[in-house]
């Protein structure tokens, strides 16, 4: 296969070679069920314990606070539904720019007697202070605000939000799937009750994630059965993926600060080029992940542009991967007050570990060419 330049690192990432090496024995001779008490099982149990410590260390948590799940979606569902199951129906507040796997569980609660309140964001995609104050006055029971947005890359001031939500008596959860590995993430410093992580966004495998959970929080499990993960998540552990997740966390946290500087430099070059084409780059006024550039060009449909870029050898996204099939404009942009016509033009470029300066230069040139071609077509049509 001709390999296009991959610029969609917020959708998923290639497995880190060291992660793959660490996983392979667990797809081979070390195949035990971690619940078995013989040697095969004990090996698997020890490997899971190691991975749990690695994940915990990467995010400043204690190993006993890490609950492994099948991925970020499950971890988000587990916190929101699991917390709600331990409470009387009340108010659940989630930001207007959450990933569907936070928004949809919250909507499920709304079908079960809860009141769902979306927290507005400002034009740059940050939690709107006035609306936030109003949410707190309404005494929410559960609040979920993502640490980093998957489309704009905007970082929320989760430490402050969590402290205020706690003071108002709420349980606070943050989806940190996009933040892990791209920015320093510290569970204690954030002061949240629950935090969602995913392996495949940081060079780990698909099929593993975690909910980091404050030990004082009681949750009802989503999946009942053999009682694995302290009863919070039953099912035979996916040892190979968990081992890979642990190693990926270790690698990511070791280089996160250096890599953030490098990616920010690449993005700066990218955005200079994008801005030069007359694009509007979203959320530049906010603190953002260093790898994400979300932009729209007046008069050029996002899907069309991404399709042309694909044929020219660049893989990027027009929305988040999970809703790529959906022609609706990005909900994140709509929530920021971006007009639907412009939001439909949005393109997301997300950089990662393997992205080089040459990739960015080539992309900038490729983008300019595609945009010019599309503009010429439009001009002919008029």
């Amino acid at each position: 296969m001709f390999a296009p330049t991959y610029l969609d690192w917020n959708a998923t990432t290639p497995l880190h070679p060291a992660v793959r090496e660490a996983m392979l024995p667990w797809l081979d001779a070390r195949f035990g069920n971690a619940s078995s008490r013989h040697e095969y099982g004990r090996q698997a149990r020890a490997a899971i314990d190691t991975a749990r410590a690695q994940v915990a260390a990467a995010v400043g948590a204690h190993a006993t606070e890490v609950v492994f799940t099948s991925g970020g979606s499950e971890a988000n569902n587990l916190f929101i539904k699991g917390a709600a199951a331990c409470m009387k129906p009340g108010l659940v507040a989630v930001s207007a720019i959450e990933h569907p796997c936070v928004r949809e569980p919250a909507r499920q609660l709304a079908r079960a007697g809860w009141t769902l309140r979306e927290i507005a964001v400002d034009a740059a995609g940050r939690i709107d202070p006035d609306d936030w104050a109003a949410v707190l006055r309404a005494r929410p029971s559960i609040v979920s605000v993502m640490r980093a947005n998957n489309e704009t890359g905007v970082l929320q001031d989760v430490a402050r939000l969590a402290a205020e939500a706690r003071a108002a008596g709420a349980w606070f959860h943050t989806d940190a799937v996009q933040a892990l590995g791209k920015t320093v993430l510290d569970f204690r410093a954030l002061g949240v009750h629950g935090m969602t992580l995913s392996a495949h966004k940081i060079g780990g495998p698909l099929g593993a994630g975690a909910l980091v959970l404050d030990k004082r929080v009681e949750l009802a499990p989503l999946i009942a059965g053999g009682g694995q993960e302290r009863g919070l998540r039953s099912g035979t552990e996916n040892v190979a993926a968990i081992v890979g997740f642990g190693v990926a966390c270790e690698l990511a946290s070791a280089q996160v600060e250096r890599e953030a500087v490098r990616l920010a430099g690449l993005r700066e070059r990218l955005e200079a080029a994008v801005a030069g084409l007359g694009a509007r780059i979203f959320s530049t006024g906010a603190e953002r992940l260093p790898n994400t550039c979300f932009f729209a060009i007046e008069g050029i449909d996002g899907e069309t542009l991404v399709g042309k870029l694909d044929r020219a050898g660049f893989a990027c996204a027009s929305g988040s991967a999970c809703s790529s099939a959906n022609p609706e404009p990005s909900r994140t942009l709509t929530a920021m007050g971006v007009a639907p016509e412009l939001a439909r033009n949005a393109v997301r470029v997300s950089l990662g570990r393997d992205t080089t300066e040459q990739d960015v230069e080539r992309f900038a040139a490729g983008l300019a060419r595609q945009v010019q071609e599309l503009r010429n077509l439009t001009a002919m049509a008029v």
């Binding site: 969609d8 959708a11 195949f31 095969y40 796997c101 059965g225 996916n238």
Partner: protein, 403 residues
């Protein structure tokens, strides 16, 4: 050459077949796309791989690929099937029927539904571990909405009469779920004929990877479920979450191999199981748990009276076996499955599950027989109870002094 410990715990998990691992590895290297990415070939090729695997899984069980929903494993499939159906059909009734010998993933799920206001009947089994159809019929109420019965028991390997149960349920308009985690590759499953509405599958019991399973959801007549995991709307909205391509590819390949090789393989495994049984059956006070005829060839569950199961497992460390299912082996309670067969605590505590698989050899079986004979003899020599039995004392008539 024997390699230790000898693995005879194939019902806990199986090694990944090397052919499966080989198919998975490209998806751990250059092919890393998110199958939901629609805007570039990384996503398209992953999506195609996922759909090819769906066909392979459907082919093993006589289903349409559109009836296969990916999950993280059989535990999740069981949760999704049981909670999903109960919640969707709760307007029709609130009664659920299952069996005392089901896997915890079913029993705990049904218990959870009981806490939410559903009512449940846990059926007894016969002494051979099989469900009596008359007992099932008698338990059905006008408000019964769901019956869940496993195809193959994980501890004793007995095969329940799924076809007959299906007829009964379909006749009454009751949704029928079957946990087939232990069945794939061991017994023929033809969902085109079986009147089963929902069926759970696992990859790692059939030489595929851990962390992936599937749920069959019948299209005709259509069965509806409430999703349990919400988000991006993957799997037609029934199960959100990014699909783990390499694991799905692995499950597809594992099921393809099972379909092609299961008949020859099961004949070989049956011969090994019979060899093990022949080697052990002449020992004194040995009891096979569960019906030997309606049983997968892979399983032999034996109680060695007057020997404590945990001490026995410690004494035969060269052989990796279990005293119950892996999921409950962390607890020291006697197996609830054996208790349901009417075995007393003592005998239930003295049981060992041997499960044989693709890579088991005759040499390993012979070694295991020798080892067991030696060690059981030793342990019994140390047992005062065994001594009394040898002297002809009926233990049931002994008045034990209280301490």
């Amino acid at each position: 050459m024997l390699k230790f410990p000898i693995y005879l715990d194939y019902s806990a998990t199986t090694p990944v077949d090397p052919r499966v691992a080989e198919k998975m590895i490209p998806w751990l290297t250059e092919h890393f796309g998110n199958p939901a990415s629609r805007s570039h070939p990384f996503g398209w090729e992953a999506e195609k791989a996922v759909e090819d695997a769906r066909e392979q899984v459907a082919a093993l069980v006589g289903a349409d690929s559109r009836e296969i929903i990916w999950t993280s494993g059989a535990t999740e499939s069981n949760n999704l099937a049981i909670k999903g159906a109960a919640q969707f059909y709760k307007g029709k009734g609130k009664h659920i029927i299952t069996v005392k010998t089901e896997h915890k993933a079913v029993l705990d799920t049904v218990r959870e539904l009981e806490r939410l206001g559903f009512e449940a009947t846990y059926l007894d089994v016969q002494e051979n571990g099989l469900l009596d159809l008359e007992v099932l019929k008698a338990a059905i109420r006008p408000d019964t909405i769901l019956v869940s019965v496993m195809m193959v028991n994980n501890e004793i390997g007995v095969v329940q009469p799924i076809a007959e149960i299906g007829e009964i349920c379909r006749d009454k308009g009751i949704v029928f779920h079957v946990d087939a985690a232990q069945a794939t590759g061991k017994v023929d499953i033809n969902l085109a004929e079986l009147k089963v509405d929902l069926m759970s599958f696992s990859a790692h019991k059939t030489y595929g990877p851990k962390g992936i399973g599937a749920l069959f959801v019948r299209r005709k007549p259509r069965v509806r479920l409430e999703a349990q995991m919400h988000g991006g709307g993957h799997e037609r909205g029934l199960r959100s979450g990014t699909l783990p391509t390499h694991q799905i590819v692995g499950m597809g390949e594992a099921f393809r191999i099972a379909r092609e090789e299961m008949h020859a393989e099961n004949a070989r495994i049956r011969a090994l199981r019979d060899r093990l049984l022949d080697g052990l059956k002449d020992m004194e006070a040995v009891y096979v748990n569960g019906d030997l005829e309606h049983r997968v060839p892979h399983n032999l569950n034996i109680s060695f009276a007057y020997v404590e199961g945990e001490s026995l497992i410690m004494a035969i460390k060269d052989v990796a076996v279990s005293s119950g299912s892996a999921c409950t082996s962390a607890s020291l309670e006697p197996s609830y499955v054996l208790r349901a067969l009417g075995r007393d605590d003592e005998l239930a505590h003295s049981s060992i599950r041997f499960t044989i698989g693709r890579f088991t050899t005759a040499e390993e079986i012979d070694y295991t027989i020798d080892l067991l004979k030696k060690r059981i003899g030793k342990l019994r020599e140390l047992s005062p109870l065994w001594e009394m039995v040898q002297e002809g004392i009926d233990l049931n008539t002994v008045q034990w002094a209280a301490h």
